[in-house]
Amino acid sequence: MKALQRKLLRELMRLKGQMLAVAAVVACGISVFVSMSSVKYSLEASRQRYYNRFRFADVFVQVKRAPEFYREAVSRIPGVASVTTRITADVTLDVPGLDEPASARLVSIPDYRMPVLNDLFLKKGRYIEPGKPEEVIASKPFLEANHLAPGDRISAVINGRKRNLLIVGMGLSPEYIYEVQPGSFFPDKRRFGVFWMGRRSLESALDMSGAFNDLSLTLAHGASEKDVIMRLDNLFKRYGSLGAYGRSEHLSDRFIVDEIKQVGIQITFLPVVFLAVAVFLLNIVLRRIVATQRDQIAVLKAIGYSNEDVGLHYLGFALIPTAFGAVVGTLLGAWLGRGLMNIYAEFYNFAELVYFFRFEDVALSVLLSFAAAIFGALGAVRSAVQLPPAEAMRPDSPVLYKPGIFDRESLRKKIPVSLRIIVRNLERRPWKAALSVLMISLSVAILIAGRYTYDSLDRMVQVEFNEKHREDVTLIFNNPMPPSVRFTIASLDGVVEHEYYREEPVKMSFGHRVRRQSIKGMESAEGLQRLVDQSNRQISLPSEGVLLTSTLATLLGVKPGDTLQVDFLQGRQRHRELLVSGTIDEILGLSAYMNLGSLNRLAGDGGALNAAYLRLDQTKAAKLYTTFKGMPGVSGIMMLKAMKQSFDELIAQSMNTSTLILTTFACVLAFAVVYNGARISLSERARELTSLRVLGMTKGEISFILLGEQALLTMAAIPVGFLIGIALSALLAHALSSELYRLPLVFSAFNFLFAFVVIVLVSLVSAFLVRRRLTSLDLVEVLKTRE
């Protein structure tokens, strides 16, 4: 090894604390970038592969019942490549080992195995055999959550009749990568599953022979999805179609696409912050190294090293810790990426979720961090190169101090000398002080933004599970029920409160904007279900007109007072005008709420009910569950408590993981900035501080001067960091929000307290480390060394 390289390595070792801090920041940035990029790519690739391999359809339409020969008609639509018709139905299940009722979606499959759209991936067991109507294939998450396997039996109420089903296989489908019960947002693997059943047996069970109620198709290359959807809507209008839709409106696909988009947002925002801080750190650290090595630079030049040699030598101080950080960050990123993919595997049911760790991502991130390192080091390296050797032999000229604002005669007497030194140091280089404040505040901001998602989810749980919903059970009817259904429900022993709603699919239009949407007709907004917005405020239900989720109003371009055109998609398919009477800033989904009475009048029928909210007497709940399991006319049962539990288990846990990672990284960032700042101040002022010691100041007094400056910067950074953190969270909330959900912008006092405590602790630790060096300064040695 060359002597100059040895010099570099030894001096890096001497500055190992500072260099490790720089390397850690780079490692954090790279690991986020590498892990998130590989996760994004893996999700995208797995999705695409799954869709291609199992022929996920492009366009979907659900109807009430349409004759099978329409399949031919659809396949003749220009642009349609292939068509599959199916029969689907929602049913209730009695799962062995589960007291509460569960629900399933039955989907028909060909009696003989053949390639179809939205095909099955048979993970375990076998395909159904023709002529055995009780055989089904069940979805993997449901089976695994309930510890069931092929060979087990399960009973279901199909079309009012109890059927004993034999599970013969475990399957997955590209249609249910995100498997949730219709009407729900969060997966509840124990209480909802998808069952694939032979077409013939489902036809006979549902009296659907020669008919279908679900059609999906793939488009030919270059075909217009919009045109095909229009033709489908015309074709199936009289068969109770709720409107055809493309992949972008397919719930499962939308969740995955949103997820991929969110990962993409994190790729851009986090690494940028880390690299910016790395640039800053390298800049201040290198400037200091060059300043303290002026005489060495002169010697190197005097003995014949060229400017390039000297420049590269000092660039090495930036590149080596960066390279080290890059290696650690890549390894950490690979590991984190795999961990994240395991979390995704809990949510998303891919046939195979392949983790691609891509060289391109590593190369790009390493390239970016080296560019950042060079950018950060550039100023210092340039000054080393440009330093004329003869001038470098002379010590740096003393810095010019000027009287500052605290030097007015009246103030001077009141401020002790040590404080005056602190203030003058800050005043002398205001930009450096401002930049230090900004960097510390960035770590505060990341702490705030990291915990913000936590607060936001907390609010989501609070609003959705505590405020908005107070029922125990929701019964979803398989067909609209007449108002008299309430007498049947009321007669059940143990039902304490019951409330009903109507869900009416419509097409809403305003100007040229059109959306398929269902209107929910509520009996009241003060009973079991209430209307609560993001800020946890209760909103009252207007007696006339419709109340829209703000996002929906924005999508339609309407404001309160506007009149919507409404086309009912079922029943008498009336066309009506509807007044927008208000908007509500909701967290989940897109909704339109109306008073049940006015919805009934608008629909022009005698009134219909689609579901009931029930509050149960808990002592009689078990018996009621058994009743629900066998109840004809009920296609789905949702349990609020179970939903909350599954939310906590799945989403909150994964959110906690990412919050933990973010918090750790923010701590690393804070430590790197604060510690480096203190170390550089120490190096700049060791001589001066030791001189003060020689003049009789105590260790405590000189520590106060040095650490006081850092404390002042940190204290200034905390409120700035709070503000940046709030802005960053707002940005995140905006970027991460979709039609599916909006993250409410809420901050708990604990969030700020947590950030404050973390920063103070990090500062104390770095102060402790620096103070140890400060108190071990050799009084005689320091005075001997030339500055």
Binding site: K2, A3, L4, R6, K301, A302, I303, G304, S306, P389
Partner: protein, 257 residues
């Protein structure tokens, strides 16, 4: 780096062996050299119209009080600084007209520097400080050999902080001579040392000059050192005030101050 190559070819075409160089061959010629600094609004004439030449194998002492301009002259001779006017020739080649790369090559191949404060790299051992030079020079000595020459054969792996001032200065001399420079420039080499140690260092310089035939320029404010030189040049306020030859060179051990 074509400049560097070009310059090295010129240097190589010169006779290498000191014994081949005629005692009186001119190594360095300075003509009408001036240096002006601007310190704020004050004009400082550091050097005024200096003309001098040095010959191969000569040991010259440059005497002068602090501020007489002797360090400035040494820096210009060593290619660390540029004059305001006048010319400097090294073996007939004009150094004052050299490019940055040529200056680097000049320092790398022809000049050895010894500084008052040794200027060793504190993170490198004695041996490594010398290797810093032997790794980039063209026809260097073995680094250990250079250290043995200055009497530090047993201190190779000591770091500067583990060496006394005199030892550090001897490492610096070893570093300067290891490249076999044609010109050894020493700026107050004993300035930071006590009497005994200083004499030890001068001994080494004398030995290098005698054994290797290196043209040596020693700057000092200490007139007693002049006794060991072939030639004594005195500067006063940037002007040449004396240029004489000693009839006999004293050995450093005979010096008294």
């Amino acid at each position: 780096m074509p400049h560097l190559l070009y310059f090295q070819i010129i240097l190589h075409s010169l006779p290498d062996n000191p014994l081949d160089r005629g005692q009186h061959r001119e190594v360095l010629r300075i003509t009408d050299l001036s240096k002006v600094y601007m310190m704020g609004e004050v004009r400082v004439d550091a050097l005024k119209h200096i003309s001098l030449e040095f010959h191969a194998g000569e040991l010259a002492v440059l005497l002068g009080a602090s501020g007489s301009g002797k360090s400035t002259l040494l820096n210009i001779i060593g290619g660390l600084d540029l004059p305001s006017s006048g010319k400097l020739f090294f073996h007939g080649r004009e150094i004052t007209a050299a490019t940055e790369a040529e200056l680097t090559a000049y320092r790398r191949c022809s000049i050895g520097f010894v500084f008052q404060f040794y200027n060793l790299i504190s993170s490198l051992s004695a041996l490594e400080n010398v290797q810093l030079v032997t790794e980039i020079a063209d026809n260097p000595m073995n680094a250990e050999e250079a250290l043995r020459l200055v009497g530090l054969g047993d201190r190779l792996n000591h770091f500067p902080a583990q060496l006394s001032g005199g030892e550090q200065q001897r490492v610096a001399i070893a570093r300067a001579v290891a490249k076999r420079p044609e010109l050894l420039l020493c700026d107050e080499p004993t300035g930071a040392l006590d009497f005994q140690t200083g004499k030890l260092v001068l001994d080494v310089l004398e030995k290098v000059n005698r054994e290797l035939g290196t043209t040596t320029l020693v700057i000092t404010h200490n007139a007693s050192i002049a006794g060991m030189a072939d030639r004594v040049v005195r500067l006063r306020s940037g002007e040449l005030s004396e240029d004489r030859r000693n009839l006999t060179r004293l050995s450093p051990s005979e010096l008294v101050w």
